[in-house]
Symmetry: D2
């Protein structure tokens, strides 16, 4: 019997449609480094969805994308503002600092930054007499969904975007799990909104059905000069760019990206219902594919034997927050089976 696995959203391979397409196109002779027609077609599809004058680039993974995008937008004397729980703040092994830039943290609220706190941070900086001896805020980083599975509202995005415009700071949205955010039942934010409010964002592939790959979308006015050379310099340019082009072309054909994201959301909703019914409580509310459950430590040990989930953080000496994640590949029967196991 196979073990139930809710550890994360990258435990399985790629959506079968992607593998099929990779196989079908395998013997085509294509130019390297992203100059092939699949990349072009994928970019066109994404540009169309963004209702916007944008440039699209394909990179391999999330940390890489954050590091390349952030370092290409900041001046040397600038840092990036992020939530103290932001992926760039804690879980990228110092990838941002490695490029010479400080991550300037502000407190998170279930993973999100608050517009007023952002605004205060920046105005305090400029009011400080010694700010010329400090790291200038150079851009703002948010994730959507956040690491906690939470989502910004359209109003919040708008407010953050206004603050960024006021101070001339690019707004960068990390969309490693963007599909799951867009398909949430509890969001008023569309892809067009994101494209409108952000100067740059990325559409996560790795965690939404691809083997690897993130599609970076820059407002044309924000695209760094010679960005592909910067990508190469960071060791982030795939020789066989087709691997990314074909995957994203497939994901944005027939709305595949959205339909598989929706499936993950439905599985997460089902999971949440089951857990609630069984009396489990949640560390905070999430309407995306990640659910954060508070377990007694004993309960945790027992449950661990039957089902896979991941440690999130200690709640107190006797309780632990754990994460259950669904994905495009989660099977309904597996979620249902959980009901029996609890």
């Amino acid at each position: 019997m196979h073990r139930l696995s809710f550890e994360c959203d990258y435990t399985t391979g790629a959506h079968p449609e992607i593998l099929k397409k990779l196989t079908e196109t395998n013997s085509e002779s294509l130019s390297g480094y992203g100059a092939d027609h699949y990349c072009e077609s994928a970019k066109e599809k994404i540009r169309a969805l963004c209702n916007n004058d944008v440039d699209v680039f394909f990179l391999v993974g999330g940390t890489q994308t954050n590091s390349v995008v952030i370092s290409s937008l900041l001046n040397s004397y600038e840092g990036v503002i992020a939530a103290d729980t932001g992926h760039v703040s804690v879980h990228e092994a110092g990838a941002i600092e490695y490029t010479g830039h400080k991550v300037l943290t502000i407190p998170h609220h279930d993973g999100k930054i608050m517009p007023t706190e952002l605004s205060d941070y920046i105005s305090n900086f400029y009011n400080d007499e010694n700010h010329e001896h400090m790291v200038f805020p150079g851009m703002v980083y948010i994730s959507h969904p956040t690491e906690n599975g939470t989502l910004y509202t359209k109003d919040e995005l708008k407010e953050i975007s206004c603050i960024c415009k006021k101070y001339n700071l690019p707004l960068f949205l990390d969309g490693a799990r963007l599909g799951y955010g867009l398909m949430s039942k509890n969001t008023d934010v569309s892809l067009a909104d994101i494209s409108h409010f952000c100067d740059v964002f990325y559409i996560g592939g790795t965690k939404v059905g691809a083997l690897c790959g993130e599609a970076v979308v820059f407002k044309k006015s924000a695209t760094p000069k010679h960005f592909m050379t910067t990508v190469k310099q960071h060791g982030a340019l795939l020789a066989k760019g087709r691997l990314l082009g074909i995957q994203f072309d497939t994901l944005f054909t027939d709305n595949l990206y959205f339909s598989i994201s929706l499936h993950a959301i439905e599985m997460a909703e089902l999971l949440r219902t089951i857990l609630s019914e069984k009396g489990y409580s949640f560390a905070w509310e999430s309407f995306t594919n990640q659910q954060f459950v508070i377990l007694e430590n004993e309960q945790l040990e027992k449950l661990k034997e039957k089902v896979g989930f991941s440690f999130w953080e200690k709640a107190d000496d006797n309780h632990t927050v754990v994460r259950f994640a669904t994905s495009w590949s989660t099977r309904k029967e597996d979620v249902e089976k959980l009901r029996e196991l609890l």
Copy 2:
């Protein structure tokens, strides 16, 4: 009719066996970041071939591998010695310098460095009264095959290795096209030799049948501490490490890596015979999958219409050196067709 393509060795996708394996294993739930059993199995196979106490890591691409390996081995005051034509010297958009290190160049001879010139460079450095104001040589980089398709002999490798040992400099071999070097009809260098003489080298996947991926092999004594954290910091750690593990596991099952490399060599030999018979001359001798042909500029323009090859360098005002590359996917019938076109 499809156009003949000899531009490079990464125009097609992956060896079909790889796609088959990716498809078969697709729904398996596996741990991320390389902690899956396919990665482990692939590593074991490579370790066995290296007859040696080695650690194996999988990275995504060549420039990335060079950048991560070199920066993880150098002290901050050190640079890497390389041929002035070395990939790290000219064609990686400054990826090494981006990590803070100088590439210290010595002259190439058809892409290779000469042991005596290497030795002179290092001893001259230490004899210079001002060397404390200069960049210390911290390691040696060679490529095998070189960018020019040439190969070191076992004796040359041994000599270079001796010089490195004398000065306590790690020797790093860039094997982006290693398979084509090992299967050359004109080499006395085996994989075990490379593993013996080098402190670190990589077995190229991208150009030898994989969609992406390079297998880095460190002598255990040379493996940098917390190397995976460094890989993460460089944005080089794949979440779905399976993509690399499965590919290398396939390549090192039933000698696939070697048999497909041998095929490319045979196609290159045939190509060379045909070109010779037709009276073409070569810029230098190569016994690997890349052949460098001197064309009159007019001839070049005509040939370009019928067959794909790539510009290498100007020979003189009327002549140009161009590169023909074969690969695991080159079809004999295509090479034969070239005979008719010339």
Copy 3:
């Protein structure tokens, strides 16, 4: 009438003895880059005071010293732990991050870090399942006196040092104002203690009577290889090293460094007494040359017209914390004059 100036401890030039010595030795022909006999003599005097097997180097300024020392001790995957108010955390324009390293902050307590919180931070790091995706703690930075003028006790230093030893982390003490710490009436910490407990520290010159210059003291076992080359690489190596050698040689002749520091302490004590008598209250207790006073905002505006001090931080909407600093050059008559002005 000259304006009273308590803004900081670097408003005047050098101790007259230093200028005298610079003038006397001016026409001597000396080797560059620190290879002169004044540097050697100064180093010897410092080594003797440290009762210890140490290496001494002279650098130009504080931020430079922090940046060179920290980056030369850390591995690329490591960061430096510091108080969130530490100079390296906030007031060095990202100099540490510029070298590729994260400053890992823990809460300050009047500028100091607490041993238990340091210990918890490190053990939590190693207990975190995901710590391989995080920045490794690679050394500990403390300042003594702190930016808040406070001092560690000998017991605290010992505890911090034990924690560092347990985890094999170098302990670095920023002594930009070290003289004022050592001469405080309220300390049990000697220079020998600092040399014993720290792997590296620096004796500040710029703020204690020199025109510029900081003396870095490494335990021999902690001295980075080829440190002078690293200093050169950071643009921190003075051609006329004599400028630093002569200054430190003078400061460590006849206990000048200590006697001028003691004078500053006595002036600070007098200042504190006067301010107390006049009913001013202090933001926190300091027994060094910096005193932090809480002023009503109106009071502040008035006082500003008569005497120089510096803004520290807002206490609340109506109150502000300001800093009064004395130095080796503060005149008793000026402090007394303050009594009349308040």
Copy 4:
């Protein structure tokens, strides 16, 4: 008897006028970090001499200045073009690479770059099909006088400047020994010319009479945003900025900078005449304060006992090139004494 010393131009302290001024102003209470009236006065004097809309900044040393200026002007994907003998290329311990940028070398001609070779280098770069995988030329670095003591003509400067303008590359002139270039008997280049043709240059203090200090002059249009923050980030901002302001204010009062440079030139001319008369030959012609003499190795050993000079390079197995340098502090009687010793 004191030993004759022609090793370099930084063996003595500062011009006495500077020490006098430092002493006179010593007890003045001044703002830190360059915000004092001496800095302002010095800047004004330099601006006036440059006949130009320029910004002036004071840094501490030459390598530091090169590193801060170059890194603040380059985009991350760009490198700096320099002669292969340029100070930034070989004798700064990799300071430029440490900031992430490659030094792109072209051949030197007695220390100078040739306009046609510069032009060819850049146009070849843009003609290369693969140039997006290479380091973009981002600025041009020249030294004047060069490391070999040679000087550009006004026509050469103009040509280089034209090439830079054509490709929109800032031109940076390293004037570590600028005074000695301007006062050469054999130059048609004035300070105003340099200010006209260069986007940024620096007026060397360390080697022309100061204890330390270089005055960086940017065309206003080329001044990097928040340059002082970048200076701080590099650890290059002196707390007691007065040390630099007072020195440069003195050097640019009553033409001191020029008159002491002229003295050095006259001493070098005398030295050259004496050496010529005695039958010594020169490695190349220099009309500045450095003279490069070819010695038989035996002759060298003997001469070394009586007079200080520095090793430059091996000429052949039996001959060596050595450097004699004069400075503002060279005494005529010492040069005359050399006549007797030869």
